[in-house]
């Protein structure tokens, strides 16, 4: 699980323009919304394509994406639940 978390963090830092260094966010920092990193829907698409390339997990449903892309932790959990990583 820890290795998946590190790969998710790497994905965030390389594919997105984050307001903070990835080292400054916790695994539970909200990725979206003003209380978190403030990512938008285009960032979400970028993340979804990145996750497909990195882990082979496919997310096409918006409702699933909203649940999965909550934080580094929720993404890593989803990757693991899909038997990927």
């Amino acid at each position: 699980m820890n290795e998946i978390v590190q790969r998710v963090r790497h994905l965030l830092s390389t594919r997105l323009k984050l307001a903070k260094a990835v080292e400054q966010i916790t695994d539970d920092t909200p990725l979206f919304g003003p209380a978190g990193l403030g990512l938008d829907s285009i960032d979400a698409l970028e993340l979804v394509l990145g996750l497909e390339k990195e882990f082979g997990v496919v997310i096409e449903d918006r409702a699933v994406a909203i649940q999965v892309l909550t934080s580094v932790h929720t993404i890593a959990e989803y990757v693991q639940s899909q038997g990927k990583g």
């Binding site: 829907s41 285009i42 979400a44 698409l45 979804v48 394509l49 497909e52 997310i59 096409e60 918006r62 994406a65």
Partner: protein, 138 residues
Amino acid sequence: MSSDPLSRLPHGLSFRFVDRILERVPGTKVIALKNVTCGDPHLQDHFPGNPVMPGVLLIEAMTQTAGLLLPDGSSAVLAQIKEARFRRPVFPGDQIRIEAERLGGLGGLHRFTVTASVDGAPAAEAEIVLAQTQAPPA
């Protein structure tokens, strides 16, 4: 809907930058042509005596080509242009071959990789995100 595949584009004729579809796999990949002529209105002043197709219109042609892959009846606007590169200028007499491939999507967003070439030589490339503004009819 008309049998003309280009009628999928919502643009009026004066702002249509795709002339012909060579191949289209719905939702996946499309190859189209755009012929550039010295009669094109935007080339009269870009530039006087030295006509060059504006890079933004090349991007427009690439975007319209990508739009041919959207679901029937939907319309969309540009949401993002990434990694755009212009490899060579495009002149009157050139035939631009544009290839667009859908990389994926989420909600109403669709990401495409698009290349434009003239006589086999790369002219431009970009990753383009379109945001659907109108869902296809149920």
